[in-house]
């Protein structure tokens, strides 16, 4: 293996460590939400500092690599993709931290009926699945799987779009539950963001492997339709 590959592997390994940590954060966040476990939620908040440290470290490694190895073609695309994947992972970390903040304020577990109606747990599961698949797609350079991940985001968006109406009805019917309903609505919004961030990562994998830019594709389609 030449020195360039050794360096690239070091950066990749660091990124995978961060990826695992963020996955753990996602799982812990879900667990804390379902059990209203304040202690666990606080741990998630604290651990986000570690995620941030990874972010800084990986940025620095990429900067050094670009300066010292002036990569081109597939190597350049990989480093550019890692830089963006890194920031997206960091943001997913922040988003989970946000969820944990809500959980930390809970006095009792969420109302089961409300969780059921809004499908927030289902949504969380789907986001976790997307996240896990995206990780596999990166490790195996599997752009087909990356494309599936991007499509998968539609499931999350659907749940998100319906949640407003469900919540309005619920709050009208049960005014004493408004605070709790709003907290769940905020969490739904956050999970929807996670879906977008995982989508961004999947787009970077396709850029890296196929040298194709797929982000903002729906914008282009819309434009064509308008014309």
């Amino acid at each position: 293996m030449n020195q360039l590959d050794i360096e690239l592997n070091r950066i990749k390994t660091k990124l995978m460590e961060m990826w695992d940590l963020v996955e753990y954060q996602l799982q812990a966040g879900r667990e804390a939400m379902l059990t209203a476990n304040k202690e666990l939620a606080e741990q998630v908040v604290k651990r986000d500092r570690k995620v941030n440290q990874f972010d800084i470290k990986i940025d620095r490694m990429c900067e050094n690599f670009l300066a010292l190895y002036t990569p081109v073609a597939v190597d350049l695309r990989l480093v550019l993709a890692i830089l963006k994947i890194n920031s997206n992972l960091e943001r997913i970390g922040d988003t989970v931290e946000g969820v944990a903040h809500f959980v930390a304020k809970l006095d009792a577990p969420f109302n089961l009926d409300l969780l059921e109606q809004t499908k927030v747990v289902h949504m969380y599961d789907e986001a976790e699945k997307m996240f896990a698949n995206c990780r596999v797609a990166f490790i195996n350079n599997d752009t087909d799987l990356a494309k599936q991940v991007i499509k998968h985001d539609k499931t999350l968006n659907k749940i998100y779009r319906k949640s407003d109406k469900i919540m309005t009805q619920y709050m009208t019917a049960k005014p004493d539950m408004i605070a709790e309903a709003l907290a769940i609505l905020s969490i739904i919004k956050k999970i929807e963001r996670v879906g977008d961030q995982v989508t961004n990562i999947a787009e970077e994998i396709i850029f890296y492997r196929d040298a194709k830019v797929v982000k903002h594709k729906s914008d282009k389609k819309k434009k064509k339709k308008e014309q």
């Binding site: 360039l4 002036t70 990569p71 081109v72 073609a73 597939v74 190597d75 350049l76 695309r77 040298a211």
Partner: protein, 254 residues
Amino acid sequence: MSKKHNKLEAKNLNAYYGDFHALKNINIAMDEKNVTAFIGPSGCGKSTFLRTLNRMNDYIEGFRVEGDILLDGRDIYAKDVRVDELRKEVGMVFQKPNPFPKSIFENVVYGLKIQGIKKKSILEEAAEQSLRQAALWEEVKDKLDKSALALSGGQQQRLCIARALAISPSVLLMDEPASALDPISTAKIEELIYELKNDYTIVIVTHNMQQAGRVSDYTAFFYMGELVEYNKTKSMFTSPKNERTQNYITGRFG
């Protein structure tokens, strides 16, 4: 912007050194006032091809070409083409600076004198203009009568460029013009190439990938006598189509 026309074109070009098939069916068209970089491992044929563009290989025993090389649509290997006339059109700069052991002034006007131009005012004007174009004028204007060999390597190379420009060619061939120079002189040569492409069609052979990326508009990758890929430099260095190109530019060859 008007479309640039094909300044140089090779059609089904094959070249041989005796039995050795050095260039295999090369087809390429280079636009005027563009910089085209030839890259590839040693022995891939890029220098051979560069040298066929002004018939530098004519005197090598056993060397022969088949196919056409067109300069402005005219075959440069046609019987009625005079090589000295061709080289007025197609100048060349080599890897190692090779000034004559003469004064700076005599070096620059050498080509003009050979053409029979004797009038001092014309020679002086041409010398200044060429040296300015080669970004050397300010450094040597007070010592034009001094020996060219007293200049630094980077200055000598720019002097050789000035010498090539003095006979007003339209094409400039450069065979690794900066590989023997330090980074500052290299940067000057690269800047110069940037300037010169406003007026000249430039073809450069380089082993320095970053240099090819910085100075050229188009890049051609040669391997074992074949032209493997020829594309806009930007595309070549971000998403090469051919795997051999990718392996070469990322340093994963062999």
